[in-house]
């Protein structure tokens, strides 16, 4: 199954040039070659057969687990020329994911729904992480702390106290890495994945077919959000692990000196870096939610990505204007680096707590905007 998906997915970018996928457009799509197409088409057909008499939970599962690839392939064969309208209606009519085979009842149905959602989530995570682009971004994200550590090792750390700390204790590279990456690199990476989430699928034409599966728009959006959250967590973990391993290899590691001048045991220091990791992750999830909302308004993934990055840059520039200090607490970016409270003794939770509240507010507002837009829009491409 997975090899078939790969083959088809490798072909998908060919579609993006056309933008529109539909009856007439599908004729212009180059034919998918090789066994992959046949196998995937087979999957598509089987989905249709099963969906026709969708009575058992198994059918629902395979309908969801059958992945968007099936839908994409169907479109290429022009079999679902008439189902475009259905796709949008289906989503609008069944926002909560009650599919056409809604004969299921009680706990069984609920657990089947959960299993189906889990499969959809797994497919989404696979889609995010198996992309060469994602792998490349994760590599870049991992390389920066390593380079940083190597540079401090070779050239020493003159002047900059934070860097000098790294030379004295490799663990410090963990938070140095975060303070270097949270202003730009990390938001950029998250914006690429989150901005692509809906707009990318819409642009490729896979979104409408994804919606023909009885997943429901709300659940699909939830899965997209969970995928972004998983990616944000993975990025933060890659950074912190790369930094800690580099620090461990290049520098002495021992008790940690905090900003307050207090020295705490190694384990305490690790826990504090873990706290920073979670904080940064939540911040990036908030940014990802914003990008997801932007992504729900457009069919051009690059538009959503650029918009998000521009928003990040603009709000960081605004933070440099002293006259605009009033609005800075309301800007998302001004909270990204407020994790230094974790490095004070006693733990200064005030700033971080407010940051978490700001992130939660952003997630609530932009998550609901994405939901309102995505569940009410017509999927035309």
């Amino acid at each position: 199954m997975s090899t078939d998906e790969r083959t088809v997915e490798a072909k998908t970018p060919v579609l993006s040039g056309d933008g529109v996928v539909g009856g007439p457009a599908s004729g212009s799509v180059p034919p998918v070659s090789g066994g992959g197409a046949t196998a995937a088409a087979g999957a598509a057909v089987s989905w249709h057969e099963k969906a026709a008499d969708a009575g058992s939970s198994g059918a629902r599962d395979s309908a969801l687990g059958g992945d968007r690839r099936a839908g994409a392939v169907v479109s290429r064969h022009g079999e679902t020329a008439g189902s475009g309208g259905e796709a949008s209606n289906l989503g609008a009519a069944t926002p909560m994911g009650e599919g056409p085979g809604g004969a299921l009842s009680g706990a069984g149905a609920r657990s089947a729904t959960w299993r189906a959602t889990l499969r959809l989530f797994r497919s989404e995570v696979g889609l995010i992480f198996r992309r060469p682009r994602t792998v490349a971004m994760l590599v870049v994200v991992a390389v920066v702390p390593v380079l940083c550590g190597v540079a401090i090792r070779i050239f020493g750390a003159d002047g900059e106290a934070l860097m000098a700390q790294v030379a004295g204790n490799g663990l410090a590279l963990g938070y140095v890495a975060f303070s270097i990456m949270t202003p730009l690199i990390l938001p950029l990476v998250v914006a690429v994945v989150a901005g692509d989430a809906l707009a990318g699928e819409a642009g490729l034409g896979t979104l409408r077919y994804l919606l023909t599966a009885p997943a429901g728009r709300t659940r699909l959006l939830g899965v997209k959000f969970a995928g972004i959250a998983a990616f944000a967590l993975a990025t933060s973990l890659v950074i912190v692990l790369a930094a800690l391993v580099t620090g461990l290899l290049l520098f002495p590691v021992g008790p940690v000196t905090l900003l307050s001048g207090t020295t705490v045991p190694l384990l305490d220091g690790l826990l504090r870096i873990g706290l920073i990791t979670l904080y940064v992750t939540l911040g990036m999830i908030a940014l990802g939610t914003l990008a997801l909302a932007v992504s729900s308004f457009t069919d051009a993934a690059i538009g959503a990505i650029v918009t998000t990055v521009v928003l990040v840059l603009v709000s960081q520039i605004l933070a440099f204007v002293p006259q605009l200090d009033v609005i800075s607490p309301y800007l998302l970016t001004s909270w990204f680096q407020r994790f230094d409270g974790a490095l004070r003794e006693p733990l200064a939770t005030g700033d971080m707590g407010q940051g978490v509240l700001a992130f939660a507010a952003y997630i609530a507002i932009f998550g609901s905007i994405a939901w309102a837009r995505f569940t009410s829009r017509d999927i035309t491409a």
Partner: protein, 347 residues
Amino acid sequence: MFTRARVVRWGVPAAALLVVAGAIGAGPVIAAVQGEPQLPELTADQLLTEVGARWGGPGSMPPMSGTIVETASLGIPALPAVPSGPSPLALLSGSHELKVWYGSADQVRLAIPGPMSEQNLIYNKGQAWWWDSAANTATKIKIPSGTPAPAPLPTAVTPPDAARLALAMAESDTAVSVGNDSTVAGRAAYELVLAPKAPESLVRDVRLAVDGETMVPLRVQIFAKGAAEPAFEVGFDSITFARPAPENFTFTPPPGAKVTEGDLPVLTQERPQMPTGDLAVTGKGWTSVVTLPFDATQFKDNPLLAGAKTVAGGKVITTKLVSALITDDGRLLVGAVTPETLEKAAG
């Protein structure tokens, strides 16, 4: 039907926005709904005596810890050139945070948090340390025995310190009254209003919020004439009356840090070049004017001087709270009074 469904859907983000806006705005609203805290009535004289007895002299404070926020809006242009660090000039504009732990008169810790840095003054039984994380230096400060803990910075004014200064002023020509009880740092507080009687003073009044239970000054606000917002305010943002953990007062220089001995480095390094020479004070109390020699050419490019107004015999800088007159014969006159008073004092 379709449009109605859409409207309902867009109602969700609208509601989310309202909830967030409500949560942000809830603080003042809740305070307004709760109204004034109920404290036993005290007359101005009783309150002044009560507060003055404790804070007029070397006051004693119960063990506490808290966060102090200091805000100055003197009405001078924001100074982008001023580093946001703990420089004395930073006092002039913006908001600054300070953390304080107070165990007893000989156990005090003050922390000035900065972005990815922190400065600490730790005073423990005659031994004082100054820790600067950005410079990675620990300085052991020599203190003559018997003196109280030094203030690390001119900016590090605690509300009790400010209250002491204000009460000293109250001994001169002042109308003392009791304002409305208010809530400061979550505690019910009396408000003591000290208003200068002299018409030439730029100060409308100084308001002291005093904790209703412990009589600890929680907030000091200075209002300029004709301004609704305080020109200067220092107050507790949060306060806990409990003995802080003893770890707060112990300091061992961390490995790798530069350890030196001497004065407070901030005071010696970052103090602006104070003009040397005679410093004369004329007038007293609220209307006192400080005269000192001043070389204007040295400060030619200073943004403060750019806004100066030329008058007969010199240049005048006015802010909401303070006026300064630079005379052509090389004197600087400063006071919380009208420019005309300065000109008169300059003679």
